[in-house]
Symmetry: C2
Subunit: 201 residues, 2 copies
DNA sequence: CCGGAATGGATACAGTCGTATCCTAACAGC
DNA sequence: GCTGTTAGGATACGACTGTATCCATTCCGG
């Protein structure tokens, strides 16, 4: 076995190059040759480490999901809050684009989302994270209701679904510069106040 | 002047063909030749009535906006309610995909939205309607607050922005089959109850 | 030290893309 | 009826696409 190379590392570099193109110029600008150029390698190398363009695309979406997951956990840990509201605020805040990298990732995510509407393979990869997020938050909120932190007439599943949809919609408006990040955060806080009662965070 | 032809009518047919492709197979499947085939004409005809592919794309987005506008007005008129809540419910209900055609249009809209993130010309066309909608609803809600229909501590602009973002986010989840139309409507009603107080519609 | 697997450079292939060009009907005004 | 503009059929161009193939390295295990 000559010239052993770390395949995972190579694939990671290529996937990152793909996401860089997708987030700045859109998925339609992603081609095997463009990825090769962006990663500074030859076309053959891209072909060598990914059998297909499809496989490459799916790898990009998987990576995007992993990044979002990392951001959520990181933010939840950083805020350090263990209150239900703290968890919700951290997760929703991690969905909104809050710095340059997360904004780029959100753009790529948006491109993938619309591609998934007409590509079942991508759709299958893409639903994993949102579903996991919704289940996780629903469980947390159900526990909070048990503990009496929120009113018993609130349905945790409906609340979480609404808040997640809200965060996604706000992300869209932030990406299209209709709204600033600060304004979006304000709206989320506004709704959290409504849910938990107006408590200072 | 020989063989006079209704240019607007021809362009409309081509635009509709474009949207049919975009909503079922995505914007990336839209090509001049595909549009020609879908409309049952030759490639030359498509070129003849639209100078550019770009012009064709912009025409598609304009048409999507017009359809949405029509739907909003139609639903508002059909519900016949003049109450602030009725207007809000009608508009938000018109944003959600509620039948096959509006679902197809929502898919096309999503495709356009992500394309607009990397295409300034499309972005310019696409922001018109959402902004108009937000301004219209904000004015309505401000009037409602004046009239005492909602609590005076609610900020109309924030409320409207939140509700529109919510409707957009719910549309996404309905399109990706994460949620049914009924479930999405329920969530919207839930939030409207929160805003106006639990009144029967 | 050498045969063979791992890695990747160079190039080719068959399609498809947007756009441009050439040419022929069709028909209103003179 | 001739003319000139309008409407479109047919075809071509060069660029780009994903994928496949051929071939030269590199270097580990025997």
């Amino acid at each position: 076995m000559p010239r052993q190379v770390d395949h995972d590392e190579r694939r990671r570099r290529l996937t990152e190059a793909l996401l860089r193109i997708a987030s700045t110029r859109g998925l339609r600008a992603v081609s095997m040759r463009e990825i090769a150029a962006e990663a500074g390698v030859s076309l053959r190398v891209v072909q060598y480490y990914f059998t297909n363009k499809q496989a490459l695309l799916e790898s990009g979406l998987t990576e995007l999901g992993a990044r979002m997951d990392r951001r959520v956990k990181q933010r939840a840990a950083a805020s350090g809050e263990l209150t239900p509201r703290g968890v919700l605020a951290a997760v929703l805040g991690a969905i909104l684009p809050f710095d340059e990298q997360s904004e780029l990732d959100s753009m790529a995510w948006t491109a993938y989302y619309s591609a998934a509407l007409t590509d079942p393979a991508l759709a299958a990869v893409g639903v994993t994270l949102p579903n996991a997020l919704e289940d996780f938050l629903t469980a947390r909120l159900a526990a909070a209701r048990q503990a009496g932190d929120i009113a018993p007439d609130r349905d945790p599943r409906t609340e979480v679904a609404g808040l997640l949809a809200l965060a996604n919609g706000l992300t869209s408006s932030v990406l299209s510069r209709q709204r600033s990040h600060a304004a979006a955060t304000e709206i989320i806080d506004y709704y959290l106040d409504r849910l938990f009662g107006p408590a200072a965070t």
